[in-house]
Every structure is written in structure tokens, then in C-alpha cells.
Amino acid sequence: MDTADLKPLVEALIFAADGPVRLERLVEVIGLETEPVAVALAELERDYAAQRRGFFLQQVAGGYQLRTRPEYADDLRRFGRGRPFKLTRPALESLAIIAYRQPVTRAEVEYLRGVDSGSVIKTLLEKQLVRILGKKDVPGKPMIYGTTRQFLELFGLTDLSALPTLREFNELLPEQTLATEGIDVESPLLVEEDAVDLSAVPGEERHDEQS
């Protein structure tokens, strides 16, 4: 089977799937080598980007899914689509902390936010955006949390490394705006080191009060 035949087949499979389809799954179903299937996928992706269709092929949560273009969001909502819940600021803040610092305990989330976060985490668990990864091996054996595949799907992320880069700040941002300078590359997967010891004060932020 050449790419010309493979492309519509891959398209059909992705269309009929009820979630993002992984390359491995496509290969398994089609029964060919990985290479031609990957090529067909890449071409499909390009085709959708080049042609002006109502939907496009998005890489998400390790798979591929057909999704409508964001510019038609308003019309689709009028069409009766759209989820009934909106993520509140506390939910988004907690979700961001869990996403970047996972595996993380509730106490760590609460320390960072300065606010009780139990009910927010419960909501995130219910919405299946967050899951319990296990228990931390410290006194009290607190639960540790991480994000789910649904989280990646919701925000259109291929994996956690696709999260927006966390910026380190040494000063305050003007309210309600985003700064573009001061970007510090910090891989979200590497942030968890020693997450418990939050009381350690980094030297560069210390300040001499006498000055």
C-alpha cells in the first residue's frame, strides 16, 4: 500500500476514533511498518493545515485527533456544543501548580497558593484533570497528585513538556499583563526535585534590609 492509499485509511481511522489515536495503534490496526504510517500522518497533518477545512489534525496526548478550528468556537457553542463547566481561577492555579510540580502533595499546593486547596483539588479529581499518583513516603503518607491524559487533551498538549515554559521572576509583573522578558527555561518534569523543602530560601532573592 503506498502513501496515496494509506492517507485516506489513516484519516478514516482517526475520524472514527473516539479520542486521540496513537501512531502505534494505527500501525497495529493497519498492519504495516511504522514508517509509512508516520509519513501518511505527517502528510495528512500538512494537508489539513494547507487546505482551509473546518477542522484540522491536532497532535494531542500522544495521539492524533481531528478538531474544529478555534475560529469557529462561537458558532459551535451556538450549535449547542461546549462544556458546562468553566475552570475558575483557583482551579486553574491549582492545576498549573500540579501540572508543573507533579508529583505534588496537597500541602505543597496549599503552601504555594497560600490558601486551602482541598475542595479545588477534589473538583479537579472529579473532572478527571488530576489523579492520585500514590502516597508520598513521608510521615502521614499524604497523597501525591499529577495530571491526567484528559488534562493534556483539554489543553491540546502532546505531553507535559509542551506546557508553556515557567518563567522565573525577580520582580513583580504589572497587573493583568504578561511579561516577555526574564525567561528562564525550566523543564516542567524537572521541577519536582526536593519539592517538599520549600522553606529553603534561594540566595539571589535575599535582601539586605540595611541597604
Binding site: 478555534p70 468556537a73 468553566k86 492555579e93 525577580n170 535575599r206 540595611q210
Partner: protein, 256 residues
């Protein structure tokens, strides 16, 4: 005061409030004027308490922290401490927490700005589990526990009685029953929360709640919710014409 009330709802917590104060005062995060910021912070907490807003423990804890830092900065240093003063700014921990909090606050904004499934982009349907559960046709009877919770919620939002209030209005449950029936008249349903105007006095809330219970007892109203822990709705249980015939005299209800 009103301005405070509106603004306060915008703060997620003490760190958020502090960030706001520091920005508003245009002071350096690395050189927070503790006296000024602490005073403003405490004034806002005061205002919250005057307004009977439920001041969360975290806000009070932060107030204590601020005062502690302020007092530590007033204390003269011992020789020992002067040598290590670099590490010893009492504000260092707070500054670090504020910057750390800001980092995640910004990250949350950025994540939210990404095109979201079911908000900006749509895929072929795979019904969300919570969506199917919330289907409106599946009303279930309200449990006593849910009802008590709903009342507690309304009471929590209603101001504590002011101690020196003199003009106590005699509230009649009977009258309120009639009012509730009138509101329900010609309607398919009425939200439980709509029964209680925002910031209604406690006595008002209780009379309305009793009236509602009486209506349930008289089988004029059914209480339903469309999912467990969902919002509670009042449904008229009999035709409105019959309602007026029901004996709702004060005596028969046991309220005198």
C-alpha cells in the same frame, strides 16, 4: 466599603492580596515597606470582618506573619546576627513565596489562554461523564442532608444580626407561604437560592425556609435536585387553583 466588597472577591488568597497591595503601592518586591503594607492589609481584613465576609483562616495567618516580620525588623540586631544579615532579612521568605506564587498565577493564565477542548475546539463527540450525569430530566428527591446544607449555605451568606437593632419586624410564616406560592404561580420551577435575596437578614432567611418546609409538608411543593449535591429546585406539586383552598392559618401551622 462597597468598593472593598467588590474587590475582595477578586482575591484568591492572602498572597494574591499582598501582590496586589505591593503593586498598587508601587514598591519594590525586594524592599517591601512592612509597616505600610501591613497596615493596608490589616485594614482590608478589618473591612472584610465588618462586612461579615467569612475571613478565611489563611488571611488571618498571613496577618500574623506580617506583624511578626514587622516586629522582627524593629528589633535591634545582635552582633552575631549582623554578620549573617544577608540571610536574615525577615522578609526573604515572604518575598520568595510571593514571587513563586506569581509564577504559577501567570502560568495558570497562560494555560487558560491555550485553545481548550470543548471551549475553543471541538472533537467528535465522546460525551463527558459529568455531562451525562447532569442531564436535566433526571431529577431526584432532595435529601434532608442536602437541604440542611443548602440552608447553612444561605445562612452563611446572610449577615449576623446586629446587636443594637431595635425595630424587630414580626415576620409571619403564613404570609411568607403565600408569597412563595405567588412566586411559584405559573412557573414550572423556582431555584431554592432565588427564594433568598442576597444579604437577607437571618430572620428573613429562617422564615422563608420554614415557609418552604410547610409547603412541602402540605404537599404543595416538591423539592428536587438534578443530581446529587446539585442545586435544589422547587416544583409546584398541585394545581395552583387548589393552593388557595389549603388552610394555612397560623394556628394550624403551630406558629403563634
Amino acid at each position: 466599603m462597597d468598593a472593598f466588597a467588590i474587590r475582595l472577591e477578586n482575591f484568591e488568597g492572602p498572597l494574591d492580596l499582598l501582590l496586589h497591595l505591593i503593586k498598587k503601592n508601587e514598591v519594590e518586591i525586594t524592599d517591601i515597606p512592612m509597616a505600610q503594607i501591613t497596615a493596608q492589609y490589616l485594614a482590608i481584613i478589618d473591612a472584610m470582618q465588618t462586612l461579615n465576609l467569612d475571613v478565611a483562616g489563611e488571611f488571618l495567618l498571613m496577618a500574623a506573619t506580617l506583624l511578626h516580620i514587622k516586629s522582627r525588623m524593629l528589633l535591634p540586631k545582635t552582633i552575631d546576627e549582623e554578620e549573617t544579615e544577608e540571610e536574615d532579612d525577615p522578609r526573604a521568605e515572604l518575598v520568595r513565596r510571593l514571587l513563586e506564587y506569581q509564577k504559577y498565577k501567570e502560568a495558570a493564565v497562560e494555560i487558560d489562554q491555550r485553545p481548550q477542548l470543548e471551549r475553543d475546539l471541538f472533537a467528535r463527540t465522546r460525551p463527558e461523564p459529568e455531562l451525562s450525569e447532569e442531564s436535566e430530566s433526571e431529577f431526584v428527591a432532595v435529601s434532608l442532608f442536602d437541604l440542611v446544607q443548602a440552608l447553612a449555605e444561605v445562612l452563611r451568606q446572610s449577615p449576623e444580626p446586629v446587636a443594637h437593632e431595635v425595630d424587630v419586624e414580626r415576620l409571619s410564616v403564613t404570609e411568607r407561604i403565600t408569597q412563595v406560592l405567588e412566586r411559584l404561580h405559573g412557573q414550572e420551577s423556582l431555584a431554592f437560592k432565588e427564594l433568598f435575596p442576597p444579604l437577607a437578614a437571618r430572620s428573613e432567611v429562617i422564615v422563608t425556609f420554614l415557609a418552604m418546609l410547610e409547603l412541602v409538608k402540605m404537599r404543595l411543593v416538591r423539592l428536587m435536585q438534578n443530581q446529587r449535591f446539585g442545586s435544589i429546585w422547587l416544583f409546584p406539586a398541585v394545581a395552583a387553583e387548589d393552593a388557595s383552598e389549603i388552610d394555612s392559618q397560623e394556628e394550624s401551622l403551630g406558629y403563634c
